[in-house]
Symmetry: C2
Subunit: 288 residues, 2 copies
């Protein structure tokens, strides 16, 4: 095997992928972005877009300088559900040394580095992860229909459900429920039509309004943030985290739960050390 | 306009449609079944299948005897969401006198006839209806993502959610949650794969197991039946039903809630007078 010249971290998701070329010490030499790379959505497109991003990266270096067969790499991809998915990706790529995980693993490695701690990741979806002595365990996720409690998509969908209940007189009307009904044409039929075609990201687009409503004291907004926080606390308790563990709230929604979690957790919240791409580079470095 | 010779009732849904030809007094002369007729799923197929059923009905009578242009008819179709849908169906059919509604209206007319009362309809989906002085009002429905609380599909999906929570240590393990995990391969990934492709009817297929679990004292089964019943009671209270009103529990799941509703409701439960097809005939008779 050739000696490793460079390390590469790749972070891939439904909106695009990013590749970071670093020296052996992890200093970034080049950053390249590419097309969508969600393995579940389309494995072939994901692999093609990663290969294209690698080609683009090579073109940033003098001819022959960036030899992928002498690089160590870690790839974190959305939609990697089982070992066979990771094996499929690894088999398609030419690295000297390569590990492939889902994007949860890289985002936790990015947030915590090598430190013990907990990541509460709440964006369009949600999961809670604990890292101890370099090994990780996860709770939650499983998508909007089955799980992703507390997530942006969950907040949006639950708010729409409450808007319909309020319209029918089965729950209290508040500014939030009234505004949502207006947004969808004033009747549950408009909400239903939206719901039938909506993807998780479309529901998550409603979440900032729910968070803002909670902040101004709207009862449904507050109920939903408290219900989401109860689920996240349940996960944190099941994780049996140590008192010294740092807690990172990541994702577009995560930090908004700080005000609703129990004080023994909020007192230990620290900003994440880095992104999922930083996590991929960090994990690639572990291969040296 | 020609005098009305016969009255026709038609009940259409996703699995098929049924047509009843009756004399002016409502006595059935012929019963014909045909293909699926859900307006939302496919309006053209629905109309074609109804026309075919009418043609089949004509063939049951001596040539020229059943003249559709001198019949009064009512059609109750799944998927009729607004007046324009009903107008589209009416415009395609040749009856002297015709009314078109969704299948909720015919099922309520079938269950109650002309009597005042309440229908709690719980099958794959759910709704609650009140009928007073011949006019009806409805609560609920809106599909599995947004509503259909207490329904068979809702029971099935909520049970799967609890099975995943129990697997992760976030809820108590019971016989029901353990059995469900086994049914889907022993990990949440199997449940997730099922959920991604499942239609409401697939979730509803899980409901009998939930009902049976509740009957044998399983805590998650009991919780779900009580939660469903709480929603149905909320609807009944919002309907402000009179003490004398009869209550009908219809659909494959409805009667199973009898044991979980408040006593002042259960004491007034009566079996439905008839089916949605009977309701369509009843409503066609009102046109005379």
């Amino acid at each position: 095997m050739k000696p490793v010249d460079y390390i590469l971290g790749i972070d891939g998701g439904g909106t695009g992928c990013r590749l970071s070329v670093c020296d052996r010490e992890g200093r970034q030499l080049a950053l390249v972005t590419g097309g969508p790379a969600n393995f579940t959505t389309d494995p072939d497109v994901a692999i093609q877009n990663i290969l294209q991003t690698m080609k683009d990266a090579k073109s940033r270096f003098p001819k022959g300088k960036l030899d992928l067969a002498s690089c160590a790499a870690h790839i974190g991809l959305a939609g990697i559900m089982q070992k066979s998915d990771a094996d499929t990706v690894a088999a398609a790529l030419p690295f000297a040394d390569l590990t492939v995980t889902d994007d949860r693993t890289t985002s936790v490695a990015g947030a915590l580095g090598s430190a013990d701690g907990v990541v509460v990741s709440v964006g369009t979806g949600s999961f809670v992860a604990a890292q101890r002595s370099g090994s990780q365990c996860f709770l939650g996720g499983w998508g909007l229909a089955l799980g992703d409690q507390a997530s942006g998509a969950w907040l949006g969908l639950e708010a729409l459900r409450r808007a319909v209940l309020a319209y029918e007189g089965l729950a209290a009307k508040t500014d939030l429920t009234e505004q949502l009904m207006l947004d969808y044409g004033g009747t549950p039929l408009g909400v239903l039509t939206f719901t039938e075609a909506a993807q998780p990201a479309d529901f998550a687009a409603i979440a900032p309004g729910v968070i803002a409503a909670a902040r101004s004291g709207d009862q449904h907004g507050l109920d939903l943030m408290h219900e989401g926080a109860r689920y996240l606390m349940l996960c944190l308790q099941e994780m049996k985290i140590a008192k010294a563990d740092m807690v990172c709230l990541t994702g577009g929604i995560g930090p908004h739960y700080a005000a609703y979690l129990d004080p023994e957790v909020t007192s230990r919240i620290q900003p994440p050390k880095g992104t999922a791409l930083d996590g991929a580079v960090h994990l690639a470095q572990q291969l040296l």
